[in-house]
């Protein structure tokens, strides 16, 4: 069965690594303010 693009994006480790780092970065920024 062909999977949708959205499914492929959401299950891609290449997405989650930068997303997690971005969230951590924003959290750090908010803590430092």
């Amino acid at each position: 069965m062909k999977r949708s693009s959205l499914y492929c994006i959401l299950t891609d480790v290449h997405l989650w690594v930068p997303v997690v780092v971005l969230v951590l970065g924003i959290t750090l920024l908010m803590m430092l303010r």
Binding site: K2, S5, C8, I9, D12, V13, H14, L15, V17, P18, V19, V21, L22, L24, G25, I26, L28, L29, L32, R33
Partner: protein
Amino acid sequence: MSDATAPAPVRSIIRSGISLHKLGVFCGLSAAVWLGSAEAPTKLVTVGFSPFILSMGMVMGAFVARWTAPTLLKGTGFVFSDLRQKPHLIVWALLAGMLWAVANTLTIFGVRNVGLAIAFPLWNTNSLVGLFWGCLLFKELRGSRTKDWGKVIGGAAAIVFGAAVLAVATAQQNAGTPGRAAIGIIAALGAGVLLGTMYIPYRKAYISGMNPLSFVTIFTFGELGTVSLLTAINLGGVSPLVAELHRARPMLFWPFVGGFCWVIGDLFQQYAAKYIGIGRGIPLSNTNQLWGLAWGALVFGEFLGLTTGGRLLILAGSSIMIAGAVSISMAEPAPSEMEHWHAAMHRECDRYGMDTANVAAVVAGNDPLADHKLQRRWWEVVIMLAAAGIFVWLAVGTRAQHISVSLPWMVVLIAGTIIPLGLCGTLLWRRTRFS
């Protein structure tokens, strides 16, 4: 521009003899020149403005500049067509812009709390972070010879170490605010991790056959949106942000010029990431510190009072950095490593249903569409004129800054900035048609 009437066979388009490795190295070094020069206009701004506003001015300048000269290279039609073929990559381009914006704000905290000397080498470790992700996620350096591992990792480490030496030397002139050191160190390290992680979307886009101009287009939207939000939060709302921008109007031209240089530098960095990977390309473009230093020392006379020890440190740091860049330049990937690069590309094609032969051709700099005559739209002229008009409008209202500069050195460095643009731009055009 040639006027081909039919698509050329994918593998027959070899336009010039230069290898992609050499082309990528030239792009990385040209990126360093332009990214380093991007710092110069901001030096023309004297005291009294928030660093957030300076940063925001530069990002706004980068956003506007993207619609000037780069629009000439490939029209909007090409960019939209490229984005339509790989719509999933829009997420990554936005994400990269957001990562840059947060990282850049963190660097401001780093410099404020521990000074440039400590902060700069800490966030310069981004090339090592990028190297790690390139190896882990995109199979860079896998299957390469031991001596190539040594050249790349040793070269990247030398560039970071050289940056540390230069930062210590220049700190004699640029002391930071003492105290709150831990916060500054954490912020600078955080910036390094974010910037290094930003290269994941870069590499992702290029092993999927995306054009750097398309990527940068979306990138600037993510960057501007996030920087606007962060600056508004830091200044206490939208109204204070608008008021600060209005107050900064007489000097806003300079960060805009910095943004223009940044866009050109970033485009070269993108091509370097495409053709030699992030493990090799990013350390090379991180030698931009040398160019920033050259502007500071030669044009603005920042180090006139420097001691002999300080001068020797600068010489040592620059030499180490240059040695690192030379080491990486000589580490051309072996065929065994290229097999791993191709495996990473196949993963993307399988996952997102892209045409492998077409993507392979684009990745190799042989975009089958590159020789087709680009269909230009009337609105591209309007966009370019509007973008150029903003620069002219800002230039007209700019207040003269009372900073002494060395005009002969300024001419030399401007020439040294434009020559790589011409040379590398020509090489890119001849070999890849900017694909």
